[in-house]
């Protein structure tokens, strides 16, 4: 029997949801507002800042000081490249774990997840030396490789969960019709799991875009992504809130826009199989 809800409780829940949403969104909104003020106005009290004139001065200063385009392109290549590579490895891996599990599959899945719990700084020196020896320091190839390694456990786990929802009989039927392993994965499994694959792709692009530790440590100039672009505007002595806000707005805008347009797909994928 469906629970009855009164109009009042609906209103209260809706207002509460909007309030929580606003609170979560507020820091981004405030960054956006600060970016359109002078350094002097950005440090004033909130109401005084809002009352002061708006200007694009900070954006001009950011553009003059650093080339946004180069950092942006590096972010695109690294986040998309590492996610696509992780999917290419992750789809067959998740297929085998979901449809032909071995005795140790569960342990293997748990071990993969446990690698995400290791503090990254613990392996900084060996990774740095490895990158140095292989000539991968400050290269997009190096960052795509490390991004793939970071994404892989999440990609395999997400895909494994989605694949488990697909009846194995359909794949069996395809096999009986003479489909090879490759066609089974590409032509039968992938189309059925498309919402899950799409949400895995979107989520991992977002995670890669925001990854800061490795991208700051392993790049200097040629492969530096937007995380380094932002880091260059914080100053130890001197006002920088407006410029830092402008740089942050420019860095998060592309991923916010992408998230906005793909939110339907993202929610559909994340809730895929949630109701049985």
């Amino acid at each position: 029997m469906a629970r009855s809800t009164t109009t009042n409780s609906k209103v209260i829940v809706t207002i509460g949801a909007w309030l929580v949403g606003f609170l979560i969104f507020f820091p981004i909104l405030w960054i956006f507002l600060m970016s359109f003020h002078t350094e002097g106005d950005a440090i004033k009290s909130p109401f005084a800042m809002l009352a002061s004139p708006w200007t694009t001065e900070a954006y001009q200063a950011v553009q003059t000081q650093n080339s946004y385009g180069k950092f942006f392109m590096n972010s695109v290549v690294i986040s998309v490249g590492s996610t696509v590579l992780a999917l290419i490895i992750g789809i067959p891996a998740a297929w085998s774990m979901a449809f032909v599990p071995g005795k140790k599959t569960k342990d293997l899945l748990m071990w993969m997840l446990s690698t995400k719990m290791m503090p990254a700084v613990g392996v900084l020196i060996p990774m740095y030396l490895g990158f140095k020896v292989t000539g991968l320091l400050d290269t997009r190839t190096g960052l795509v490789a490390i991004g793939t390694l970071i994404n892989l456990p999440i990609v395999i786990w997400m895909l494994y969960t989605y694949f488990k929802e697909i009846p194995g009989e359909i794949l069996e039927a395809a096999r009986m019709d003479g489909a090879s392993l490759t066609s089974e994965i590409i032509h039968v499994l992938t189309p059925m799991a498309l919402p899950g694959i799409a949400s895995t792709l979107l989520l991992n692009v977002i995670l890669s875009w925001n990854e800061a530790f490795w991208s700051l440590q392993l790049t200097t100039s040629d492969a530096a992504p937007l995380t380094q672009f932002i880091a260059s505007f914080s100053a130890p002595e001197g006002l920088f809130y407006a410029k830092l806000s402008a740089a942050s707005t420019m860095a998060i805008a592309p991923i916010l826009i992408m998230g906005w347009f793909s939110q339907k797909q993202l929610v559909r994928g994340l809730t895929f199989g949630a109701v049985k």
Partner: protein, 436 residues
């Protein structure tokens, strides 16, 4: 066929030679984001005109990110950077470890003897200069002349802590958000501990005795912390335990601070276009307690060349240009004398034009009154005014800073904070092998 082959080979050889003739060396310079460094990036045409075969790639990062990244690169000899912007804390440690290239052989015209002795002393290890100072700073009192006048007080050029106490009390009017004094309270070895360590020197305190035994259980440290807490609790702004340089700068520029004791470099900001009290600011030396040491620090951002660089000659050419007397003249000609990087050369302070800058004399006097090799009243086994030049210091001082910041926030008492500082410092120094 033969002729064609020969012609092709000849053309290839010529092209290769032409390529070699115009080959340029690209050096990567890692730097912090401060006004002087950003200004330099806009003046690079002068360097390129003098060094057409060298190209400079800039990597600008937040101070702590830069420090971590450069340390990783230099320790692994990664060779990602050819010139580093480093502080006075790192130079003696890295120089001693053989991580930096000696700059003793920079051209004679660069004039090493012209460097301010206090600054050069902090960058020299066993007679080798390991970094060229780009800008130097000390700390001093920046105060509101109008509020002092209204209170019927005059700030001496060399005040005592008692003078500061009296002035802070007279200028405080919390109902008008007018606070007598603003000081650093945010935890960190380069934040509240830079201020408190320098302040403690003037109270006769020290971090370690000659046997490296921590001294937080001694009276001078108790006096230092008690006086600091009294000033901040009675006359300071609310939430001061979160205030660092930038927060206090904002408060001062908005007219909320009667006094601010901090880096001399702040003088150009509080008298700059963003300040509402630009024409009301006066300057004085950091206070003392009559014990022979003032509560001011000494710091320089300097350019150094890591031992892992494969382009040492090009890097030296850049360092020599960026820290030369000619560079200061270039900045002065383009942006005025007030924007010249301060605190590195004697000749700058002898310049009649620079002497007209309102804070020039007080900056020089402050720098000259700090001695990194004899920072405390009693002898100590370490170098450094507001820091101790050992690798363990940054970690220990940040933890001690958290204790003192908690005492300011009121979540612990001064006595408990000092006891915790003593215990954690003793543990770390024993672990590091200083205490047997």
């Amino acid at each position: 066929m033969n002729m064609t082959l020969r012609a092709l080979l000849g053309a290839t050889a010529l092209l290769t030679l032409a390529g070699l003739a115009s080959a340029e060396t690209t050096i990567t310079v890692a730097t912090v984001n401060n006004g002087d460094m950003i200004r330099m990036q806009g003046l690079m045409d002068d360097f390129y005109a003098k060094n057409p075969d060298i190209k400079v790639e800039w990597v600008t990062l937040e101070e702590n990110v830069l420090r971590q990244k450069v340390t990783t690169d230099i320790a692994t000899k990664g060779g990602q950077f050819d010139v580093l912007t480093i502080g006075t804390y790192e130079v003696p440690i890295w120089g001693k470890s053989g991580w930096l290239v000696s700059l003793n052989d920079l051209p004679e015209a660069w004039d090493k003897a012209d460097l301010l002795p206090a600054i050069a002393g902090g960058l020299t290890v066993d007679g080798e200069l390991y970094a060229a100072p780009f800008y130097g700073e000390s700390s001093m009192v920046m105060y509101r002349k109008d509020l002092m006048e209204a209170a019927g007080l005059t700030m001496p050029d060399a005040p005592t802590w008692a003078d500061i106490d009296k002035a802070a009390a007279a200028m405080t009017d919390k109902s008008k958000e007018q606070y007598g004094i603003c000081l650093r309270g945010k935890a960190g070895w380069g934040e509240n501990m830079a201020f408190l360590t320098a302040m403690s020197n003037s109270f006769g305190a020290k971090w370690f005795d000659m046997d490296w035994k921590p001294q937080f259980d001694q009276k001078p440290w108790a006096d230092t912390l008690a006086f600091y807490l009294h000033l901040m609790n009675d006359y300071g702004p609310p939430g001061a335990s979160n205030n660092g340089f930038n927060e206090n700068l904002a408060l001062t520029q908005q007219g909320h601070c009667g006094m601010w004791i901090d880096a001399t470099v702040a003088a150009s900001f509080v008298t700059g276009k963003d300040s509402t009290v630009a024409d009301k600011m006066g300057f004085a030396l950091a206070p003392d307690n009559g014990l022979g040491k003032r509560g001011n620090w000494l710091w320089a951002w300097s350019l150094a060349i890591p031992a892992g660089s494969a382009k040492v000659d090009a890097a030296k050419a850049f360092v020599a240009w960026a820290t030369s007397k000619e560079y200061t003249e270039l900045v002065a000609s383009k942006e005025g004398w007030a924007n010249v990087p301060p605190g590195t050369r004697t000749s700058l302070y002898a310049n009649a034009e620079y002497q007209k800058v309102p804070f020039a004399k007080m900056t020089l006097d402050s720098i000259n009154s700090a001695d990194p090799t004899h920072p405390t009243v009693d002898p100590v086994p370490y170098v450094g005014v507001q820091f101790v030049a050992i690798p363990e210091f940054a970690g220990i001082a940040t933890e001690v800073g958290q204790q003192f910041s908690a005492a300011l926030a009121g979540t612990t008492t001064a006595a408990d904070a000092l006891a915790a500082a003593q215990e954690l410092t003793t543990t770390e120094m024993t672990k590091a092998g200083y205490i047997k």
